[in-house]
């Protein structure tokens, strides 16, 4: 069964617009984290932001922020003032602790390919 679901396979926006990318997940753990990564066209994975389950505040990092709806097990990535350089594939990942490792297994969604039009 899919642990992490990203229902939007593709998305687009105009330069300067705010973009929202959605992600839902399944877990029975109390402590977990959700990460967002962007994959560049070169294949390189770039870390963007993460949200710990125990923190009720939505995390922010520069132009990236999240909308965390814990009771619905959903989290959205919001990119403000999108730029053409933001184009790429965005992955949501669920981290559940495992034995001695706080990060444990990461389960990735299928990704959303975003194109920002100049």
């Amino acid at each position: 069964a899919q642990r992490v679901t990203q229902v939007q396979p593709t998305g687009s926006s105009q330069w300067g617009e705010e973009v929202t990318l959605d992600c839902s997940y399944e877990t029975s753990e109390y402590f977990y984290r959700i990460f967002w990564y962007r994959q560049l066209f070169s294949g390189e994975m770039v870390f963007l932001i993460y949200q710990p389950s125990f923190d009720t505040q939505n995390q922010r990092s520069g132009r990236y922020s999240v909308v965390f709806q814990k009771s619905f097990k959903s989290i959205s990535l919001v990119i403000s003032a999108s730029q053409p350089e933001d184009s790429g594939t965005y992955f949501c990942a669920l981290s559940e602790p495992d034995r001695g490792s706080a990060l444990g297994r990461l389960h990735f969604g299928a990704g959303t390919q975003l194109i920002v039009i100049p």
Partner: protein, 113 residues
């Protein structure tokens, strides 16, 4: 800073061949991962290791072996390459402590003829 080096960058194999992919990290990270990415799809966990000589199967371990003989290196073996198989294998590492993220290598692109 540190770096994760994956070798080779490109790997072409024959059907049935045993193929080995290598990953080295100089971050001194405890935990290392191997993921497979098929075209247009997400990453699927093959194996991971939380310390030297530890191995844990992921969701896609069948058809693969892994080895973590040193803290800094994690290798993955495709035990019998499948005809027309094409995927990118990504290695990643993390300190394994709380609030840490994954650091990724640039990938090994596999094509099987």
């Amino acid at each position: 800073g540190g770096i994760i080096t994956q070798t080779p960058k490109f790997l072409i194999g024959q059907e049935g061949q045993k193929l080995t992919l290598k990953c080295q990290q100089n971050f001194n990270h405890d935990t290392m991962y191997w993921y497979r990415q098929d075209s247009g799809k997400g990453l699927r966990l093959i194996y991971y290791s939380i310390t030297e000589n530890d191995l844990q199967k992921g969701d896609l371990s069948e058809g693969y072996d892994a080895s973590r003989e040193k803290k800094s290196s994690f290798s993955l073996t495709v035990t019998s390459a499948q005809k027309n198989e094409m995927a990118v294998f990504l290695c990643a590492s993390t300190p394994g402590t709380a609030n840490e993220r994954l650091f990724f290598g640039h990938g090994t692109k596999l094509s099987v003829l």
